[in-house]
């Protein structure tokens, strides 16, 4: 029989993590990006180094008018932010932060995570369509093109980790990890991370939302709380991508004193990968559409196929 209190507690922790971690990443982005660009970033809100800036932003977004364009497709337009955000909440349910630390121990949790993550992009497509705005439509077109190119290397890189561990369970994969994977699965890790960035439309892969040319693409017509939900989806996506990279390729909870401090290792590694996501935004300019496509098809796909061969040899020979 399922222990309902235990389950409720775990789901509660997931909900809190979902509400808090994206804001932490957002604040980290404000401050880290500012210092990398020789600015100080938010300093006043909340007193100490602007820690309450995102709360103030949230209050501001709630107060703004929720504008619905006349030509927009009302229901789809209203539904889109929820479709973009909710999948990331659901994915968090299967991510293990300790050997016994996932809210749900699904047998095929890796597939579950990849499947649910791939639904989130429908939110951007719905927004692009429903806004009845040519910039939004162009943005939606770019979202779809980008997703179709990067979904393949993303899934294949995850498959490589699953093959190496011999299981589709995220808990099992993290348990099977050993430090050699850092070398053996390095190409898969790089491909997974880059393709994940592209799926989140994070810079340098932010062609779909390119604010300077198509004015935030699918989100052009969004205001107030719905726009904030799309932004939140982006940061929740960073958390999920970082957590998945941690669990698949960085050993999850493994590290010194992992019996007691396993959850801390998972959070630390997730934080480090999130920082890398922010760093890449500051370090690289936006890629052009044709560069995006050729990176995916000529770079990542052959690399991850080579990785699959290497993984197969490793699994069979060792």
């Amino acid at each position: 029989m399922i222990d309902w209190w235990d389950l409720a507690l775990r789901l509660g922790v997931v909900l809190v993590a979902f509400l808090v971690l994206p804001l932490l990443v957002g604040q980290l982005e404000h401050k880290a990006m500012a210092h990398m660009q020789s600015r100080v970033g938010p300093m006043y809100a909340g007193g100490f180094h602007g820690w309450a800036q995102l709360i103030a932003d949230g209050v501001k977004f709630v107060q703004k008018e929720d504008v619905l364009p006349t030509a927009a497709d009302r229901h789809v337009f209203r539904l889109a932010p929820a479709v973009a955000l909710l999948p990331y909440l659901i994915v968090l349910v299967v991510i293990p932060i300790a050997p016994d630390g996932a809210a749900s121990s699904l047998d095929v949790s890796l597939f579950f995570a990849l499947a649910v993550m791939s639904v989130g992009v429908l939110g951007s497509l719905m927004a692009g369509w429903a806004s009845a705005n040519k910039f939004s439509l162009l943005g939606g077109l770019r979202v779809a093109a980008q997703l179709m190119s990067y979904e393949l290397p993303f899934v294949l890189a995850a498959v490589s980790a699953a093959m190496a561990a011999g299981t589709l369970s995220l808990t099992g994969i993290a348990a099977a990890w050993n430090p050699w994977w850092l070398l053996w699965q390095l190409p898969a890790m790089v491909v997974f991370f880059i393709a994940g960035l592209a799926e989140l439309q994070r810079p340098p892969f932010d062609m779909p939302v390119a604010d300077a040319e198509i004015i935030f693409g699918p989100y052009t017509e969004y205001t107030g709380i719905r726009f904030a939900l799309f932004l939140l989806a982006e940061y929740a996506g960073i958390v999920v991508l970082a957590a998945l990279t941690t669990v698949l390729f960085l050993g999850g909870w493994q590290g010194p004193w992992s019996d007691q401090l396993g959850w801390l290792w998972t959070l630390l590694k997730t934080g480090a990968v999130s920082f890398l996501v922010i760093w890449l935004r500051v370090a690289y300019p936006r890629m052009r559409e044709d560069q995006l496509q050729s990176l995916a098809w000529k770079g990542l796909v052959p690399l991850v196929l080579l990785q699959l061969v290497i993984t197969t040899v490793g699994v069979l020979a060792l």
Partner: protein
Amino acid sequence: MTLVEVLFLLLGAMALGSAVLVAVSANLVHCALWLVVTLGALAGCYLLLAAEFVAWVQVLIYLGAVVVLLLFALMLTRAPTGAVPDLTSSNRFLAAFTAAAASGLLIVSFAAGFGGTRIEIGSGDIGSAGALGSTLFGAWVLGFEVLSVLLLAALIGAIVLSRRQERD
């Protein structure tokens, strides 16, 4: 009726209803989005039938890739943002008849083939990835390989078609 049966019937009704909406909706984008509901409800049915792995593959491939591909193709060709008046085809009755005949055939053949069969799904790993994999690459490997050759042929066909347009 058990809870599982009730859920199964509800999901089945949802799949059927949204499939009808896919066919009759006047807005092309709504058709594609109702298709998402249909495919999602089907994934739910698979889940209730203990075919866990197939259910998530259904979500990953159909919801995450095929629908996106559909929307992409719509955007590239016509990109209508509102309702399209001349969407209903003139041979809709023929199409309805064909669809009804095909589903009748499928229902009859499934009922004849597996009508009385009962599978105990409480025992565990019937629909797990491991069981599915060993069946697919054991008993059904020939069909699997033939399918992959078919996909390869389609791929080469697509390359040939796009190259020919380039030369003209």
